[in-house]
Symmetry: C2
Subunit: 350 residues, 2 copies
């Protein structure tokens, strides 16, 4: 894997094949059934800072003036007994929370538990300003009080189900369904309940989640950052801040990859996998992103980086949506990622 990348799909297929051969033998359903045994679990916050505000509230019961914490990132973790494998950090995408990685909409095991059962200490985050990681309502209240013009209201948003349908590539447009679709659409209502109000456009640049991921990586002293979609770029941005603590990167269907013509140095020492589902080439939203990531992968390979750019249909796996960690073959895809980690990142610390 230290040779430069020649043909992404070909290399990926051979690398994955090799990985599959070297991975520990796994009987059918092993790790999925039977009790789950944890050495420990818990939750905590990373990052965050205190800010003062005069518009925390417009309700009589709560004072308008005071201090709140902002930019903290919620992390929930589970550690298997005597873990033999790397810690992984699961980072959700747009308009969603860490729920992305938990029980699927149709009730199957999520990647969060599966990675633990396969020996990985597993850390699931809520991005700053979503889920259990708070946002700052001060500007909204300032508008309410007439202190800020209405057009300066912060641009918080919810993604509508019809638009999300095409973004998540369930079909070309709502409610059409791609042939062979593996997403459990019979449970689509359960999936749409996962979506939350997104405050990301109100956050400073770089997104504070990136700084928090860097801090978490250092704490874990060698984690594989597994990102998705809108967070796809985060592990790369984290590496650009500081590579310390980043043992590997798996970027699933990234909204953005680093520029092929930018500074590639931060990524040279880190094993990287970029992973795509199906129906990408025919998506006006996703095809250009795939192309840009392929260019990045080729440039990084030529520069001596260690990267697998994997498009699932190219290795014979068809029907995966953008939400591939919830598709009907989600655990087989987790196995593929786990085997890649085993081969390319290994079990020891840097």
């Amino acid at each position: 894997m230290r040779r430069p990348l020649v043909g992404a799909a070909l290399l990926a297929a051979s690398a994955l094949s090799a990985a599959a051969q070297t991975a520990p033998p796994a009987p059918a359903q092993a790790g999925v059934s039977g009790p789950l045994v944890l050495e420990k679990q818990g939750s905590f916050f990373v990052g965050g800072r205190n800010v003062k505000s005069e518009t925390l509230s417009t309700l009589p019961a709560y004072a308008p003036s005071g201090t709140i914490a902002v930019e903290q990132m919620y992390v929930r973790y589970q550690v298997p007994v005597a873990p033999q494998r790397r810690p992984v950090t699961l980072i959700h995408g747009c308009c969603l929370t860490g729920k992305t990685w938990e029980t699927t909409p149709d009730g199957r095991m999520g990647w969060d538990e599966y990675f633990v059962r396969k020996g990985h200490p597993t850390y699931v985050i809520d991005q700053v300003s979503r889920g259990r990681s708070s946002a700052d309502p001060s500007l909204v209240n300032s508008v309410k009080l007439g202190q800020t013009p209405p057009d300066k209201t912060p641009p918080i948003y919810a993604a509508g189900q019809e638009a999300a349908w095409a973004i998540f590539r369930f079909g070309t447009e709502y409610p059409k369904v791609h042939d062979g679709m593996r997403f459990p659409l019979a449970a689509k209502e359960e999936f749409f309940k996962q979506m939350v109000v997104d405050w990301i456009a109100t956050l400073p640049t770089p997104n504070p989640t990136v700084k928090a991921l860097s801090e978490l990586s250092k704490q874990l002293d060698g984690t594989v950052l597994i990102s998705h979609s809108q967070s796809g770029i985060y592990p790369f941005q984290t590496a650009a801040l500081d590579t310390k603590g980043i043992a590997g990167i798996v970027s699933i269907e990234p909204g953005t990859c680093p520029s092929a013509t930018g500074d590639l140095k931060p990524y040279l020492g880190i094993p990287i996998m970029v992973l795509w589902g199906d129906y990408v080439e025919t998506s006006s939203r996703w095809a250009p992103r795939l192309k840009a990531c392929r260019e990045f992968a080729e440039a990084l390979g030529k520069a001596g980086g260690r990267i697998d750019h994997v498009v699932l249909p190219d290795i014979g796996i068809k029907g995966n949506s953008h939400m591939l960690m919830q598709d009907d073959n989600s655990l087989a895809l987790a196995d593929l990622v786990i085997a890649w980690i085993e081969k390319n990142v290994g079990t020891k610390k840097n």
Copy 2:
């Protein structure tokens, strides 16, 4: 416990003493150390409905028009192997999320795990419109677009740390500390990171969380609803909707109890514990609430209800804050609740 309540504190003390005698023997630290073994875990949503909106977004990347799910309630659960005890449902209070019950700010085990270790299937929720249970940003965007007057901006808020200090009874006012305070104030910054933007004042009445709790109770077919603070009234409101599936109620420091002169019938068949920490009588915010709950407990006892109204200092336990599930004796208090459930609710279904 089926006799009418005579003297709340006295009865509580004797009942708890009896409960402690009948509870299974527990060596020191039993259940806290050693691996955690789970039969299963996962997460899902309860409730929710779809609404259409024309103001989901003001950003070009996301369509303004579309459908979103609202009023769904996120639930995360863990079930121990061969559970011998009742499912419990942990319901957080104002400005917080299910994180309330997880690892304490100073890194000790939360009630979520402790109840599992003690044999209770444990369900932790995020209230509708907080944490992983989404809110609706449509009205905020309508203001931004000039379609709604600024003063109609929804009253979302964050509780400031200075005001929260007195509400959570760390001291009479920020930054004074009550003598003997058991809350881990050395980790107060970690605690304040748990607080989130609260959309509760934008929700319809009754709060959709109550309806979702009723649905969850029916699914669990006999759960003890354990609520806190602003959610203290929810189990009672849930019982007023339908007592089906509610095996018991533990209301910790409720912001409101049912009226002593109201309809008490919904509560007559359900074992109820109302639990208070220390420093309540001298708090202008909390003393009247304690008084009203005591009146409710006395009225319910006279009407034939089964209720223990427990003020911890009255049974010799001093120094507890409003956030008693995070205080330094949090697991001893969990034991007290578990013993109460064992005695008054029992292990079998209704």
